[in-house]
């Protein structure tokens, strides 16, 4: 399967925060051949273990996507909703959504907006908030089966676009793809460190999954990977490789130097990012888990984060996997198979 195809499949999978089973299936199938075991833990993380020797490394990427949950349905089948993770109401207007109900069935809905000429002039300058938006689910003949607690995602299929992939859940499944590719790269070596690929839940609501996973695993190094904003002003762009977070308090200085040196020695294109406190990713909770874990954060440049048309560059995904796999091997001093 091509990397672009993997990104598309991962993005299309249905995985609202707390309900990532379908994504787990896609990941299990993709990473299965390259790891020794996979299991899910109490809080809902998927963990794939590649047994090795020497250092024990945890790689954290989250697979929950920002999405919606229905909070009320009226007698005509119009539903009110709440966000799961941070969603900008602007990008929900005029979207088709897929609703998965507690009866297991999938139904459609439209988040509609009134045509301009029926609106009052004063409202045109404002975007409806969550309190004014609604999902028109009345179009379903059995709309009374839709209820509070049903989950909804924007119904948009990912697609390729000039070496990039656009989709609804590349944050952070594009990085999950990096983990999968890293596992594939490592499988070419006869000895590697032990690597726990943790596909976390609930990152979007406070890195809850990563907290539990990091407390449970005994690791010498934690590497979190998340997407970061493509931002020319701040020298982070699509197509120029992963952004390594230089510092500050959340990042382990010595491991960062090793990673940076490895990139330079192997002429791998990287960019740099910085954070003055918490990073706002799984790295936050990994570093302070247990008695403390040296932590690194690698970021994949992405455009339009938290919209249904997030964009990443495929070569960045591939490049990051190569970097990571090579870096892990360098920690071990292993031999290629």
């Amino acid at each position: 399967m091509s990397l672009a195809r993997l990104l598309i499949n991962l993005s299309n999978a249905f995985g609202p925060v707390g309900y990532e089973d379908e994504v787990h299936s896609v990941i299990r199938e993709a990473i299965g051949p390259f790891v020794d075991e996979t299991y899910t833990d109490e809080i809902g993380n998927l963990i794939a273990v590649k047994k090795g020797s020497g250092k024990r490394i945890g790689v954290f990427t989250h697979v929950d996507e920002v999405s919606l949950v229905i909070s009320r349905v009226d007698e005509r089948g119009f539903a009110r909703f709440e966000e799961l993770g941070g969603v900008d109401p602007k990008v929900l207007i005029s979207q088709k959504v897929k609703i998965r109900s507690r009866d297991g069935k999938e139904r459609s809905g439209v988040i509609g907006m009134l045509a301009p000429h029926l609106q009052k002039r004063e409202t045109r300058g404002e975007v409806p908030s969550f309190d004014e938006l609604f999902i028109d689910a009345s179009i379903n003949p059995d709309y009374e089966k839709i209820g509070v607690g049903d989950l909804a995602v924007v119904d948009i299929l990912a697609f390729e676009m000039n070496g990039k992939v656009a989709g609804k859940a590349l944050d952070d499944r594009a990085c999950a793809a990096i983990s999968i590719e890293t596992a594939r790269e490592l499988s070419k070596y006869s000895t590697t460190p032990t690597v726990y690929f943790v596909f976390t839940t609930r990152e979007e609501v406070g890195a809850i999954g990563a907290k539990g996973a990091a407390e449970a695993l005994e690791i010498d190094l934690g590497v979190a990977m998340d997407v970061t904003h493509h931002d020319k002003e701040n020298d982070v762009e699509l197509g120029k490789g992963p952004a390594l977070t230089v510092g500050g308090p959340n990042i382990h200085k010595k491991y960062f130097e090793l990673l940076d040196k490895h990139a330079k020695d192997n002429e791998i294109k990287v960019q740099y990012d910085f954070t003055s406190g918490r990073t706002g990713t799984d790295a936050d909770n990994v570093q302070i888990a247990g008695t403390g874990v040296p932590t690194l954060l690698l970021s994949l440049p992405e455009m339009f984060m938290h919209t249904p048309v997030e964009v990443v560059q495929v070569s960045d995904v591939a490049g990051t996997a190569r970097l990571l796999a090579g870096f892990f091997i360098s920690l071990k001093g292993a031999e290629e198979q």
């Binding site: 925060v17 707390g18 309900y19 833990d41 109490e42 809080i43 809902g44 993380n45 949950v69 229905i70 909070s71 009320r72 349905v73 009110r80 909703f81 709440e82 799961l84 507690r102 969550f130 309190d131 209820g147 509070v148 607690g149 609930r202 609501v205 809850i208 999954g209 907290k211 539990g212 996973a213 407390e215 449970a216």
Partner: protein, 336 residues
């Protein structure tokens, strides 16, 4: 069960000052538990043993919102600050009771009519004061010195189907848990009943209560605000009287899907009416359990309640009884 509820809600025990309520609960549950302990933070943890080897945990918080005396002026008027999310607006026209026994009434500052208007629009604790009827500063210092905690002072009213009192949040859960303990003969798993402290100031007790237990499932029992009063929040859809809720999400946590489906399964099997709940604000102790150690599958069962965090919270007695049935059934059927 109404007598039990009345006993619990009328006790004045704000966050951090839970001795009185803990004693009352301990006394109630003693004959029914296999063991009981108080942990370093003050959580009361009781155990009823089962056979399966698995562990289930129920959590209800003992503390209620309140106030603390921060200053006494030369005339014996008190200044206070909030303990937990107590809104100053709720104090205007209602009474406070302090742990020393003093009673207080609250009013606001305003040296001009205009200022009074401003104070009302943007009411905060800096612009209100408490009058405990002291004649001077030293009198006040005797009656309610700085650092004295207090709560709403209101009575329990039984309207038949509906019950009104302060601190239904979360004494109703404590009552439910006690009732479950009394009725539970044959639990499948080991069932831990955690009466937690300091939920209202940041889920403190629940963050650690399960550290040594690490149950297979944790269910927080709390109240949720019922959006079924005139022109109430239009985005939410659950009602008083239609059963205890199975929470899907609030701002504190997204309930573990396993807990949600297990509760629904049991509710359907036992024909207990329940509703799903999506709350667009707020949080419960469930978050504390999700973030304990390597993580615990957790969720919340809520009792719909109107006027939460006011001196007169209202619950539906049938919802309460159904919550007891639901939790008891879960304890009997097990987490599996």
């Amino acid at each position: 069960m109404k007598k039990l509820i009345e006993k619990l809600v009328t006790i004045s025990s704000p966050s951090g000052r839970e001795d009185a309520i803990r004693e009352a609960i301990a006394e109630e549950i003693k004959p029914y538990v296999d063991s009981m302990k108080i942990d370093p933070l003050g959580n009361l943890v009781a155990l009823k043993k089962g056979k399966s080897g698995k562990k289930l945990l129920f959590d209800g918080h003992m503390d209620e919102i309140g106030v603390v005396v921060t200053h006494i002026d030369s005339n014996g008027f008190l200044r206070i600050d909030s303990i937990g999310g107590l809104s100053p607006y709720m104090l205007l026209g209602s009474r406070l009771i302090f742990e020393t026994g003093a009673s207080g009434v609250v009013d606001l500052e305003g040296e001009t009519i205009k200022e009074l208007g401003e104070s009302i629009k943007n009411l905060d604790f800096d612009h209100i004061f408490v009058d405990i009827g002291a004649i001077d500063k030293s009198d006040a210092e005797r009656k309610a010195p700085i650092g004295t905690f207090g709560t709403y002072d209101s009575e329990f009213i039984d309207l038949g189907k509906r019950l009104i009192s302060k601190s239904m949040d979360d004494r109703i859960a404590c009552a439910i848990m006690i009732q479950v303990l009394k009725e539970l003969k044959d639990p499948k798993d080991d069932v831990y009943f955690v009466f937690a402290v300091q939920e209202e100031v940041g889920l403190v007790g629940a963050s650690v209560a399960a550290f040594d237990i690490m149950p297979d499932m944790a269910v927080a029992v709390d109240v949720t605000t019922g959006p079924d009063t005139p022109k109430s929040l239009k985005r939410m859809g659950f009602k008083l009287g239609e059963g205890p809720t199975i929470k899907i999400k609030d701002r504190g946590s997204i309930s573990s899907s396993r807990v949600v489906s297990r509760l629904k399964e049991i509710a359907e099997k036992k024909e207990i009416p329940t509703q799903y709940e999506v709350l667009i604000f707020g949080g419960t102790d469930a978050r504390g359990y999700q973030t304990t150690g390597r993580g615990i599958a957790s969720g919340t069962v809520s009792v719909p309640c109107r006027y939460v965090h006011s001196p007169h919270e209202m619950v539906d007695y049938d919802d309460v009884l159904n919550a007891v049935r639901l939790l008891k059934a879960l304890a009997e059927e097990g987490v599996e």
